[in-house]
């Protein structure tokens, strides 16, 4: 090729128009090629320039060799959901480059490695070709390291093409590599070489996409949901963790381990104020959590759908024997083998009624990094208060992707350890106490812990009466089930309540939860701007549903339940629980591609259904 710059005229962005702070970049690489550092440096540099940004990793279930895409979205308005369209493609993977290029909308830009010759594929895109191998050979004498360093070159090129301050990139790089001077020097050289190449070869033309400094990220942090939840557990006073590795959950306990080792060693003795066990499987993990909680510790496990399935039997025991337990479910698509690295909200229904017999469980539904942190604390408090298993329903998108967030707030509420009898309380209650007796009218009994000088009891599943004595009587069983229902009603008032945005005059309502939230807030703006449709919004934050959910549906003619699964799981759960007269008002917006939901898809679905 004579010039690295293909001359195709971009269809949309004429030379005088730039798109500023509103585009998405997709970096297509091969898994294991070390692109993660480069992608995070780019993301962080944009963040440091004050522009709202989000990063989403579409990676395969593989250690090395399969294609992976990292998408960075910059958006001045602060929309951080996945953007459906790719505006700027960095094509580093020969295997997918052709398809990646062919799927772009006209007028978009492509940065690619010279030998791929992608400019021959289309003439309605902006192409930049870069001789990566040549540049990397100059900056990195050690051939073995070149594969890793190569990625920093596209960052350098992008700094020029997108007007991302090179200094910010260097600073972002030093955040990750600052403690390793050799690696830092090598990567910085690659970064600068990329920038230099771009200045020398692409200076003459107008580039369609630009990052311009703003001040919308001041004071914010960048974090992933699993780290946020791990911190939440640490500040929630969690003492026992048992877990079994599974994507996308593993980084939660792994982050937890590193925080605990640093911040939860007793100052006087240097000993651990916690115990973390990598169990032999998820059945053992939940068994340990239940054993530990039964003996009075704050215990949790973290898993994903396949682990939830294995924990099912124990979940029923925890429900009936009324033992606290906290379970994080970082949801992914099913089943165990298939697409373990793709996101979904697909465990809602099965987890709400996890196990066998009559069971119903408390689910917490975090939507943000702040909620991943806060709801960890809520989960322990609720689980001990209600003496039951509590699930925190995160997902791969929240758990593993990088999100902007306000810094977390230090929890000021003291830990709620629930109704545990101490010797004084035993004296006060006297003979009236029975392990499963409802003394307070809220369905929640008082429990005792071993080694506290309080009366013992024998814990078993459902075969007990209110005094925890062995019983197979029909009335004992029924009475106990009814009390458990009452306890669940109590739970509805204790769990995090929905966040409601009522828009005056809006006939249409939207209900969403968890990671779908971000696409929904963007979609509501699109619906207003493009279809003049006003919508109210209720964001669910927990199951059981409080009365306010019924009331919200009642106030609207049609309510769209937006979720990331095929079978409308939350909608089904709503149908079971709400006033039957309201059921016909519910409609569904479903997204189940394994990729995080995007606003465009939500908008299209609602507009189409509104036309019917």
């Amino acid at each position: 090729m004579s010039s690295p710059l293909a001359t195709a005229a971009p269809a949309e962005s004429s030379s005088s128009q730039h798109v500023v702070n509103d585009f998405s970049i997709s970096v297509a690489t091969v898994n294991g090629s070390g692109s993660q550092t480069a992608n995070l440096v780019l993301l962080r540099a944009i963040f440091q320039m004050g522009v709202p940004v989000s990063g989403k990793n579409m990676f395969p279930s593989n250690i090395a060799g399969l294609p992976t895409w990292y998408t960075i979205r910059a958006n001045a308005k602060g929309y951080i959901a996945r953007k459906k369209e790719i505006d700027f493609l960095v094509a580093m993977n020969a295997e997918t480059a052709r398809e990646d290029v062919l799927s772009l909308d006209p007028g978009r830009a492509v940065l690619y490695d010279v030998p791929l010759k992608l400019n021959e594929l289309r003439d309605d895109l902006m192409f930049y070709s870069v001789p990566f191998d040549k540049i990397v050979a100059e900056v990195c004498p050690d051939a073995k390291l070149r594969r890793l360093v190569k990625n920093m070159i596209y960052d350098g090129v992008l700094s020029h093409l997108l007007s991302v301050d090179l200094g910010e990139m260097v600073e972002a790089l030093s955040k990750t590599l600052g403690k390793k001077p050799k690696a830092m020097a090598l990567n910085q050289a690659a970064l600068e070489a990329g920038a230099k190449y771009a200045q020398e070869h692409f200076a003459v033309i107008q580039h369609p996409y630009r990052i311009q400094r703003m001040n919308k990220t001041g004071g914010l942090i960048l974090v992933d949901g699993n780290a946020a939840a791990a911190m939440g557990c640490m500040f929630a006073g969690c003492t026992v963790v048992a877990w079994y590795p599974i994507t996308p959950s593993s980084s939660l306990p792994e982050s937890f381990i590193s925080y605990m080792r640093k911040y939860r060693m007793d100052k006087d003795t240097g000993k651990a104020t916690f115990a973390i066990v990598q169990a032999e499987d998820e059945i053992a993990a939940i068994g340990m959590v239940i054993g530990a909680s039964w003996a009075g510790a704050r215990a949790m496990t973290s898993t994903s759908g396949p682990g939830i399935s294995l924990m099912s039997e124990f979940a029923g025991l925890a429900y009936y024997a009324e033992v606290p337990a906290v379970v994080f479910d970082i949801q992914r698509v099913g089943p165990s083998t298939g697409l373990p690295t793709r996101t979904a909200q697909g465990d809602i229904l099965s987890t709400a009624v996890h196990s066998h017999g009559d069971t119903k469980h408390v689910l917490l539904l975090p939507a943000s990094m702040g909620e991943c942190f806060d709801m960890a604390g809520d989960a322990f408090d609720l689980s001990e208060r209600l003496q039951t298993i509590v699930y925190v329903m995160s997902d791969l998108d929240l758990g593993m992707n990088t999100w902007m967030s306000e810094p977390f707030t230090y929890p000021t509420k003291p830990l709620d350890r629930g109704k545990v009898l101490d010797e004084a309380k035993v004296r006060e209650l006297g003979a009236s106490w029975g392990r499963y007796k409802d003394l307070d009218g809220d369905g929640i009994p008082w429990r005792t812990l071993p080694d506290t000088g309080t009366p013992s009891y024998f814990t078993r599943g459902s075969g007990h009466n209110a005094m925890a004595q062995y019983s197979e009587r029909a009335d004992d069983y029924t009475n106990n089930l009814d009390r458990l229902s009452k306890k669940f009603d109590t739970a509805a008032g204790l769990v995090p309540q929905p966040v409601i945005d009522d828009v005056k005059g809006a006939k249409v309502g939207i209900i969403a939860y968890g990671s779908s939230h971000w696409a929904v807030i963007e979609s509501r703006d699109l619906l207003k701007d493009e279809a003049s449709l006003d919508t109210s919004y209720l964001r669910l934050r927990a199951y059981p549903f409080p009365e306010s959910v019924d009331a919200f549906i009642r106030r609207h003619d049609r309510v769209y339940v937006v979720e990331q699964n095929r079978d409308a799981q939350m909608l089904s759960l709503l149908r079971i629980d709400i006033d039957p007269a309201l059921q016909t008002r519910l409609r569904s917006v479903l997204h189940y591609s394994g990729l995080p939901i995007d606003a465009r898809s939500v908008t299209q679905s609602i507009v189409a259904q509104e036309k019917q």
Partner: protein, 352 residues
């Protein structure tokens, strides 16, 4: 037994009490609902005796089980202790969790041969491997009692069930497995051998680490027929006792008169003494290889050795390896479990 004659502080009361001043009755549980004559009931009685004689503080004990007739029995001893009848084959994990929460407790776990050898074999393996301080008792009847007599993985090869089905798989030797996997106290006994079982249980109470005790316990309803190696009749004939087991608790400072050479003496973790009268001059219960050889050779002869088969008194247990603070995790105050605001500030600064 020689140790039963002396108590350090003779109780003033008329009724016989142990060193805590407690009567035997205070170690009992609820009334059994198992079949009359079931071997499991006899084991329950020995657990009660052992805890009484050792002066165990029942408030410092947790008792756990899986599911089965055998797993019901924790309800029948130590009423003062918290108990947990968990799920089939998963008691080891519940016990592990409970001990993580409160490492100052003593734990007694009761399982069945189905509960351990079939559905629970995975958790059993990892429990042994971890050497969690726990007395793990398999009430071994070679069948599933509670579901009415099906074969368990310790059923005899070639044995016939009531419905005529013949078991054509070899049995699992839980003692051999436990030794191989890292248990530090491995014994086998018979529910009908009062004296031996009592001594073994008392020694187990003194041990720190996993005590795996396989107790042959005939199921009188489904597996006490002729030809069953788990029947009363068979055990009486084929039990090859490794010699007498005598246990002297640390609080009973008496000398035992044994001929050197014929007796192995093991000093337990808490200072107690275990005396094992040798059947063979060459048998050393602290020798893993010898223990394995013994189990192998006796099984070839259709016999099973009873007594303490293997013991390793000083190996670090799982809880010690976790380097936990002294106070039970369950009772740590918020000041020790919620880091200061400055920690959150530091974490947040690192993410800016």
């Amino acid at each position: 037994m020689s140790t039963e004659t002396s108590t350090p502080t003779p109780a003033p009361q008329a009724k016989k009490t142990n060193r805590l001043g407690l009567e035997l009755a205070s170690y009992r549980g609820s009334k059994t609902t198992l079949c009359a004559g079931c071997g499991h009931n006899a084991i329950t009685e020995r657990i009660i005796d052992a805890c009484y004689e050792m002066g165990v503080d029942a408030k410092k004990v947790i008792k756990l089980s899986g599911i089965g007739c055998s797993s019901k029995s924790p309800a029948y001893f130590l009423n003062q202790s918290h108990g947990f009848n968990s799920v089939h084959g998963r008691m080891p994990s519940v016990a592990t969790g409970a001990m993580l929460a409160n490492h100052t407790m003593a734990a007694i776990g009761v399982s069945g041969d189905g509960d351990t050898g079939a559905i629970g074999i995975g958790q059993f393996v990892h429990l042994m491997r971890r050497n969690l301080p726990l007395i793990y008792i398999i009430e071994d009847n070679g069948c599933y009692g509670l579901t009415k007599g099906q074969f368990s993985p310790t059923a005899d090869l070639g044995t016939k069930a009531k419905n005529g089905v013949v078991n054509d798989l070899p049995p699992i030797d839980t003692c051999a497995l436990a030794i191989e996997l890292g248990a530090t106290f491995v014994a086998r006994s018979f529910s009908g051998d009062k004296k031996q079982l009592l001594s073994i249980l008392k020694a187990a109470i003194a041990h720190r680490g996993t005590c795996m005790i396989d107790v042959i316990s005939p199921c009188v309803t489904f597996n006490d027929h002729e030809g069953s190696t788990k029947s009363y009749a068979y055990v009486k004939e084929h039990d090859e006792a490794l010699g007498e087991v005598t246990f002297v608790p640390f609080f009973e400072d008496i000398s035992v008169d044994y001929e050197p050479g014929s007796t192995t003496e093991v000093t337990m973790h808490d200072g107690s003494h275990l005396f094992l009268k040798k059947i063979s001059e060459h048998y050393d219960p602290t020798d893993k290889l010898a223990a394995n050889r013994l189990l192998h050779e006796t099984s070839l002869r259709g016999e099973f050795p009873t007594g303490v088969i293997y013991i390793e008194p000083d190996k670090d247990d799982f809880l010690t390896s976790l380097n936990m603070v002294e106070q039970p995790l369950a009772f740590l105050p918020q000041s020790m479990t919620r880091p200061a605001p400055s920690v959150l500030e530091e974490l947040m600064a690192g993410l800016k």
